[in-house]
């Protein structure tokens, strides 16, 4: 599987070519692309959301320091031209801003004061839902007009995972002059290629290209609209009726409708969301590792991928997969848990838990075919001798309970896992979060070591040791990563990204 994802870097290259082509064409009508999206930002405040879509939208409007380029597998700067870590003190990071960037409407230049302000606002704005992104940051200072020094609390190798395309750079002067409410609503000006034209919360967000912007190319749509369409059926119908040009997340069973149509193509992308079955050792009888192993052997992942996900998922042998930071196919082979009913039965017998009542909790409609998937796991769990039952609590209740560590056995996903460090610290390190409540000294040690290792190769090695240790204790069965299908109109070319963000840079209208 190749992650043929083009985000900004590649976008720029094609953009240059397309610009030349577009100049020949005399047509000057405005190009519009509407995206049928599943989630939406809930606030005018660029620091007020922490959903993936929101980071993508705000980064295109306000601009962010940088982003992860899936094509090269490395970080690329946007507002920050380059950055470095102090050789003596690994806590000190220096970011050098691009010079001469012009803000929408008034052309004011980006300065380090804005960056320092944005870090401050993420931490202190009462509406901010991005505090977790700056939790490792102890201090931010402006060294000069274009240089910002970020000091971390502890050496943090994966810092860019927290900061890049998650720290939106908002203007200090506008905030000081108008306050957050007015600044965000009346003056949503930034340095990104798109201006914010209109937000109707819960309905749509309209962006308009800022023609003079350094990242705005001719081929990018002049207007980029995000329409909230939660029902997959609606997104498909709207795409086929040409109401929208890009439809996010097409469930596998609807794929054929798009594949058959004359107006649209189906484009898959492998998501970076890890799907897993969590078994919290904090709760009896899940403290028994033999039971946990038996469960992992019981699940026929290939059958589920084939029958319910219609092949639109990549099985996870290791905790992470291809394209994610630190993936090692050789190591993954050794970590694979086979589907083996006999072994599952034997393990369950050994644990003395045949006939045990277990309740699998699942969200409904949160992940691709989540309920259907978990529904099909019930007979599999029964096959090894568990008396399994499915629970479909409403999301609010389930999520609250999972976060408090009150749910012993659940199906869930962890999205945005580009660099696995934050996710694994959160789920598998002692006190990382109560969600699984797993605690193991070896795993803790390895995860801490990984964060303090700055050499990429060495870090990958430590990460894989941590993975192997986690798989050994199996606080979770790792299932798959969905191949997210996008429906894309034939007159639009776009390669979706694994994070689910939609970048105007990468869209071109034919």
């Amino acid at each position: 599987m190749k992650l043929g994802t083009r985000i900004m870097g590649a976008g720029f290259a094609t953009a240059a070519l397309m610009t030349a082509a577009a100049m020949v064409s005399p047509v000057d009508a405005k190009t519009r692309v509407a995206v049928g999206a599943t989630e939406t930002i809930s606030s005018h405040n660029p620091h007020g959301d922490s959903i993936s879509m929101g980071y993508g939208i705000w980064c295109q409007v306000y601009g962010c320091l940088g982003f992860f380029d899936f094509k090269t597998g490395s970080y690329k700067g946007m507002l920050a031209e380059r950055w470095e870590i102090d050789k003596k003190d690994p806590n000190v990071w220096t970011f050098y801003l691009r010079k001469g960037l012009k803000r929408h409407n008034d052309g004011k230049e980006l300065t380090s004061a804005d960056v320092v302000h944005s870090f401050w606002r993420m931490k202190n704005d009462p509406q901010s839902r991005q505090t977790q992104n700056v939790k490792h940051v102890a201090k931010t200072e402006a060294l000069d007009k274009y240089t910002v020094r970020v000091t971390t609390k502890k050496p943090t190798a994966p810092l860019l995972e927290f900061l890049f395309d998650r720290v939106m750079i908002t203007s200090k002067d506008l905030y000081d002059k108008h306050g957050s409410k007015i600044a965000d609503r009346k003056h949503p000006w930034g340095w990104g290629p798109y201006k914010l034209k209109k937000i109707e919360i819960g309905q749509r967000i309209v962006l308009e290209k800022d023609p003079g912007n350094r990242w705005a190319s001719k081929s990018m749509p002049d207007e980029l609209m995000f329409r909230v369409m939660r029902e997959a059926e609606q997104r498909v119908t709207a795409l086929l009726n040409k109401e929208i040009q890009i439809a996010q997340f097409i469930p596998p069973h609807l794929a054929s409708r798009i594949a058959k149509s004359k107006n649209a193509n189906l484009v898959p992308t492998s998501s970076v969301e890890l799907m897993f079955l969590a078994m919290s050792p904090k709760h009896k009888p899940w403290d028994n590792a033999t039971l946990r192993k038996a469960v992992c052997h019981a699940i026929n992942r290939d059958a589920i991928i084939k029958a319910i996900l219609k092949g639109q998922a990549n099985r996870l042998d290791a905790p992470i997969g291809q394209g994610q930071y630190g993936y090692d196919p050789e190591a993954a082979k050794k970590m694979k848990v086979e589907y083996d009913v006999a072994k599952g039965k034997a393990l369950l017998k050994k644990a003395g838990m045949v006939g045990l009542k277990v309740e699998l909790h699942t969200p409904v409609g949160r992940y691709v075919n989540d309920k259907q998937v978990t529904e099909s796991m019930i007979p599999m769990l029964k096959a090894i001798g568990l008396d399994a039952r499915l629970k479909t609590p409403e999301w609010a209740t389930l999520w609250a309970n999972v976060q408090k560590g009150k749910v012993p056995f659940f199906y869930m996903g962890r999205g945005g896992v580009v660099d696995p460090s934050p996710a694994f610290a959160q789920y598998f390190e002692t006190n990382g979060s109560p969600r699984i409540g797993f605690s193991n000294a070896n795993v803790d040690r390895l995860l801490q070591k990984e964060r303090a290792t700055f050499d990429p190769e060495a870090r990958k090695k430590v990460l894989n040791q941590a993975f192997a240790e986690i798989v050994k204790h199996q606080p979770a069965c790792f299932m798959w990563r969905h191949k997210l299908l996008y429906g894309i109109a034939k007159n639009v070319s776009y390669k979706p990204t694994p994070t689910g963000r939609i970048w105007g840079y990468a869209i071109s209208v034919k």
């Binding site: 007020g48 839902r129 109401e243």
Partner: protein
């Protein structure tokens, strides 16, 4: 009369306060913590604790309720946890869409249901009556959400005649004046936008209005049936008025009171029915706002929306009672 109205209006105040208490307690008793739900997947326990503090969730429930009540009496329903906007403003933004949908649904119900009922009632046991009765039973027995899904599947999916979701096409409408999209477009003389609005509203309005259509048809039929045998209708007939005139001038006029009553009574059902229909058609009204609020445990928004719905419902009922009293003085002594 004035005395009666005053008494009734004052009588609803304790009811509304009791309702607010009930809703508040229900919301608080529910499992699921907004601080957990609204913060990011990566939020730390400290983030969650500070959000709880900020939203006043650490205070005892009675303190929270008292604060809410005092603020509500001053016209402030609090600020949404999730959207950080005043609840009243958010409802004000979304309510016109719901009201617009409800109005069109009622219009459809009245303009189809009443004539059907009149024809059916005028000729009992004829084929018109049978067809009408079928519509009546169809309307009251059809689950609106399933009907909505089938309409989407057939009308927008297979036939591709009307849009399946949303309220309008972006970029056609002018700036809103009243928030009622079709009305605004009429005021702007923007016919394209008027048609656009109508094309979006038809399907959800049909799905929502069918139930009321059925009820209206049946009520109209039976009132007309009763009235047709009354003395004054006989007198009118004896005076040599044509059957057509007798029917529409006398019979229908007398059937109007029960019809209006039913429309009033069913408004509540319609309002809550719109919660489901809005979900099916992604209609951006206050019903879908309520579902979103429930899903994220946005306490102020849930309380605010539920109270708004209830308040509207209480006002409708009060109005009907007062209208009734105006028509029939005996009712005043009923209670």
């Amino acid at each position: 009369m004035l005395n009666y109205i005053t008494r009734r209006v004052i009588g609803t105040i304790p009811v509304i306060i009791l309702i607010s208490l009930l809703v508040f307690m229900l919301v608080q008793a529910a499992p699921g913590d907004p601080a957990d739900l609204l913060l990011s997947d990566e939020a730390t326990p400290e983030d969650i604790a500070s959000a709880r503090e900020r939203w006043g969730l650490n205070q005892p429930v009675y303190v929270q309720y008292w604060k809410f009540l005092v603020a509500a009496l001053q016209g402030d329903l609090g600020t949404s946890f999730r959207y950080a906007d005043p609840v009243l403003l958010m409802i004000g933004d979304r309510l016109p869409a719901t009201v617009e949908l409800a109005v069109v649904a009622i219009l459809i119900a009245v303009f189809i249901g009443v004539p059907l009922g009149v024809w059916a009632g005028a000729r009992p046991n004829s084929w018109v009556d049978n067809v009408g009765s079928f519509f009546g039973f169809f309307g009251i027995s059809m689950p609106s959400f399933w009907f909505g899904i089938m309409l989407i599947l057939i009308v927008s999916g297979f036939l591709n005649l009307l849009p399946s979701a949303g309220r309008n096409t972006y970029g056609i409408a002018d700036d809103p004046i009243t928030g009622f999209y079709i009305l605004d477009s009429l005021l702007h003389w923007n016919w394209k936008a008027v048609w656009d609005g109508i094309s979006y509203i038809i399907l959800p309005a049909i799905a929502l209005g069918t139930n009321m259509l059925g009820i209206l048809m049946r009520v109209t039929r039976s009132s007309v049936l009763e009235v047709m045998h009354d003395d004054f209708v006989r007198t009118a007939r004896a005076k040599g008025l044509s059957e057509h005139k007798v029917l529409w001038r006398h019979a229908v006029r007398n059937a109007l009171i029960p019809i209006i009553t039913v429309v009033g009574l069913e408004l509540g059902t319609l309002l809550s029915g719109s919660i489901i229909v809005e979900t099916v058609f992604s209609w951006p009204g206050s019903g879908s706002l309520l579902i979103e609020a429930l899903n994220s445990r946005d306490y102020p928004l849930i309380t605010g929306t539920v109270l708004t719905y209830t308040f509207i419902f209480v006002i409708i009922n009060l109005t009907i009672d007062i209208l009734y009293a105006a028509i029939d003085p005996r009712i005043r002594f009923d209670k």
